[in-house]
Amino acid sequence: MTELPLIGGAAPVAADTPGARKLAGAKIGVVTFPGTLDDRDAVRAVRLAGATPVALWHADTTLGDVDAVIIPGGFSYGDYLRAGAISRFAPLMAKVIDAANSEARLPVLGICNGFQILTESHLLPGSMIKNDHLKFLCRDQVLRVENNTTDWTRDYAPGQEITVPLKNQDGQYIADEKTLDALEAEGRVVFRYVGWNPNGSRRDIAGISNAAGNVVGLMPHPEHAVETGFGPETGTGTEGLGFFTSVLNKIVGDNK
């Protein structure tokens, strides 16, 4: 993987083997809204995992033939109104919501602003408000994988701790007590902050899933921890890659 070009398009892992061709057949869409920042990093993470990234535009009216969708981070519509509130009504989001709730259960991952868009879309419960300390925060953050049975976490061990970057201003996850109790009871708290709570999130929650486990949202950024030398300095620096290989394994496994 270290042999990949660091500028421009990275070639798929282990270019021409039957296994690699099968992986590259998996198409993962990455949605860009006006104000999205991390779509290019998400595309790169998809490619490094061995799948084929597909650029999707918020105004598109079809998802094409993608096998999964990533809604990346950034400040769509400048966080105007509420973070994610305007993006939630983009034409493509109607398709994402339908596909996520359909029989096929399209895997959907929302990272940071993408997580905010998923809560505004009611694909995930609760909401995000300003960090309790009111400051934008950027740091490497340790997370514990609380549920490794979702489409996006199956390559992690239960209870595994991973370090990925965290960078946000509206990162405080909140929901009413009843919703929080239900999330805990159903194993839908997928990630928890370890060491300290960086934003006042209820019950140290960093990420959650829907009941089926195909929709996952989290505030920290696994797509920034996929490449040696360019991720967090603690740990391997590539501890976010498991998100992308997880969904890839899920897609390839389902198509056997």
């Binding site: 109104l81 509130a85 305007i86 009504f89 909401s127 408000i129 300003k130 909140i174």
Partner: protein, 83 residues
């Protein structure tokens, strides 16, 4: 031109970090009478022509679906203001 004013406030049980920061700053300017501040949002929707019941209903619907998030906010007021 008549306007429909929509006021949205954070739910009472939700900590309002912005209000908390403001109440901390007030005494520094000598405003010592205020023990709490909560910050909300005011929207002004301009209507070309008369505000009918149907248009008012649309405004209420917009207030609940787009202008506020019922998980964290309440629509506390929707009223017509003649310019």
């Amino acid at each position: 031109m008549p306007r429909i004013v929509v006021d949205v406030m954070p739910k009472p049980e939700i900590l309002d970090p912005q209000g908390k920061a403001i109440v901390g700053a007030l005494p520094r300017l000598g405003f010592t009478a205020f023990s709490s501040v909560r910050q909300g949002k005011r929207f002004e929707l301009t209507v070309d022509g008369e505000v009918t019941e149907e248009i008012l209903a649309q405004a209420r619907n917009a207030a609940e679906t787009l202008l506020s998030n019922p998980v964290i906010e309440d629509v506390v007021n929707v009223e017509v203001v003649e310019a």
